[in-house]
């Protein structure tokens, strides 16, 4: 009896120690974000003198935000990022699911070869393709500085992982008898796919949406090679440009960084569970 009480106290102390250690660690993890946030409300002189002070010696200073908002053309970059991310994501998910469907359900030679190539190509990193991509789409076809080109490249580059993951999901999660029933009921192949198969792939679709949106929204290297006109810049591109232009204007930079990060953080607050589930199942399945 007394032994179990002691054990209980010991376990509880251990538990509290663990919790304290983890919270200290979390504060350390969050420290950089916190620094940027507090310094975005200060004047440059206060930032240089003491970046650790919570507020400016003259109180909260809000002017960094409107100025940074204007000079980095935030609404425009945001819209560019938004359009490119959403359109790329939709076509990746849609066409990957359709391709994976025909790869799983047919034994055509074309299906087997195509799927094999996609699997093998998943190991190719973007850096091994960037120079020929610029050569083909830039010098030969002259298609740079066009959002559609970037969307098409995202589409092609995102295909491998998405097809691979839908392939697994269809194989293990879609009963063929349902499709046969739908065909008997007079659905054609497209109707069968869109009304029966695609809805059953909901879980995998949300995983892919999470993975693709995080990748597309934050992507820098590919957009930087395709889009060089300021009007077309996505958020990472205009952040980079802004940082280069206002290097010494720390307050503005801090405000710009906060504004760039905010949309994703807001999304994370609402969809945290889905995002974490998506990342885990994406990693485990690939």
């Amino acid at each position: 009896m007394s032994k179990s009480v002691i054990g209980g106290t010991k376990a509880r102390v251990g538990h509290i120690v663990k919790l304290v250690v983890l919270f200290i660690l979390l504060i350390a993890y969050m420290f950089p974000f916190f620094m940027v946030l507090i310094n975005s409300f200060k004047r440059k002189v206060s930032i240089v003198r003491n970046p650790l002070s919570l507020i400016d010696t003259q109180g909260f200073y809000f002017d960094n935000y409107p100025e940074a908002f204007e000079s980095m053309r935030f609404p425009l970059s945001f819209m560019n990022s938004f359009l490119i991310t959403v359109i790329s994501m939709i076509i990746i998910v849609l066409f990957a699911a359709m391709a994976a469907y025909v790869f799983v359900r047919t034994k055509y030679l074309a299906s087997r070869i195509s799927f094999g190539m996609m699997l093998a190509a998943m190991i190719i990193p973007f850096q091994a393709l960037m120079i020929p991509l610029v050569s083909i789409y830039g010098n030969t076809l002259n298609l740079l500085n066009n959002r559609a080109t970037l969307i098409f490249l995202n589409f092609g580059f995102g295909m491998g992982l998405a097809v691979f993951m839908y392939h697994g999901a269809i194989k293990s999660g879609v009963p063929i008898s349902l499709e046969e029933a739908a065909l008997l009921d007079g659905c054609n192949k497209y109707q069968t796919f869109f009304r029966v198969v695609f809805p059953l792939l909901k879980t995998m679709t949300s995983t892919l949406v999470v993975l693709d949106v995080l990748w597309l929204w934050n992507d820098y290297l590919m957009p930087s090679l395709i889009l060089t006109k300021r009007d077309l810049f996505t958020l990472p591109l205009s952040t980079y440009r802004f940082y280069g232009t206002y290097t010494s204007d720390l307050g503005l930079i801090m405000a710009a960084l906060v504004m760039t990060v905010t949309p994703v953080i807001i999304l994370y607050l609402f969809l945290q569970r889905h995002i974490i589930a998506g990342v885990v199942s994406g990693a485990v399945k690939s």
Binding site: P32, M98, S111, A121, I131, P132, L225, Y268, A283, V284
Partner: protein, 293 residues
């Protein structure tokens, strides 16, 4: 469901896989093959004029000491980062699967850096290393922090490693958490009843059953750190004195700054082969260590 005639098969295939194949072939397959061709040319980036130069680019690459130096540097960075990422991630996952109330909140918190792109993360840390830590160091009298870590080659390397570990440990933590959760409870309980200590249970039961998680995490951390570019660009931009210029940045600059596209592409291919060889060997060895529950 399958079509019988060749025409029917073709139509069925194209109806579903047509768009996917157009994108995949145009963006991955053709550029990959064309990239191999580029390594045998002297293309200078302007116009379409190229001459075939045989293996000259590869010979240049093999004689380019700076490239090999940067590849070696990358290898060192990858080894140190991958080990630290996985140790930190494993410990976090271990602590965050012990059933405490705040564990979901904490997991979500440690994952946060992965929502943000390397460019922004690099700028955030640049501010921390150049402005914040020196002030802390001077105020508290800690010599290690008095100077900006990014102004000295050795500390800049470690600054880069720290940010990398900070960024990816939360991601790998999630995969290890899934691994811990997947270990059957009856096995760990049986081991405890048989007299194993907590450490022994982890060492001899949990870890062997989590080999698949280790394989995934090592694969992901090796491929990502090897190809690092964004963070490299915004945190150190290769400096000071090119002391942190990783292979991906070296390739980028060779092609797009020096306009030597053939040489750059040859280096990109070599980089790709090295990464693929390491990642696949590692996965193959890991798969052989898997055990069934």
């Amino acid at each position: 469901m399958e079509e019988k005639t060749f025409l029917g098969k073709t139509k069925h295939f194209l109806m579903f896989a047509g768009p996917a194949m157009v994108g995949f072939i145009a963006v991955v397959i053709i550029p990959f093959i064309y990239g191999l061709y580029l390594t045998f040319t002297d293309w200078g980036g302007i116009g379409n004029h190229k001459n075939l130069v045989g293996f000259a680019n590869y010979i240049t690459v093999f004689q380019d000491g700076a490239f090999w130096k940067s590849l070696l540097l990358t290898l060192g960075y990858v080894i140190v980062s991958v080990i630290m990422i996985n140790i930190v991630a494993f410990i976090l996952a271990y602590l965050l699967t012990s059933g405490m109330k705040a564990q979901n909140f904490l997991r979500a918190g440690f994952f946060t850096p992965n929502l943000i792109g390397g460019i922004v993360l690099g700028f955030i840390w640049e501010f921390v290393f150049t402005r914040t830590l020196p002030v802390i160091g001077q105020t508290l009298g800690i010599p290690l922090f008095e100077k900006s870590w990014l102004s000295d080659p050795t500390t800049a390397f470690w600054a880069f490693v720290i940010v990398t570990v900070w960024q990816y440990s939360g991601y790998m933590m999630l995969i290890y958490v899934a691994g811990f959760v997947g270990v059957p409870k009856d096995l760990t309980e049986a081991a405890s009843i048989d007299g194993c200590t907590g450490f022994q249970v982890t060492r001899y039961v949990t870890i062997p059953l989590m080999v698949p998680s280790f394989v995934i995490c090592l694969f992901l951390s090796v491929t990502r750190t090897f190809m690092v570019y964004d963070l490299n660009l915004s945190l150190t931009n290769g400096g000071p004195y090119e002391s942190t210029k990783m292979a991906a940045m070296y390739v980028y600059q060779m092609a797009f700054n020096s306009q030597r596209y053939g040489v750059g592409q040859a280096e990109a291919i070599i980089l790709f082969v090295v990464v693929a060889a390491i990642a696949l060997t590692q996965t193959y060895l890991g798969k052989r260590m898997e055990v069934d529950a």
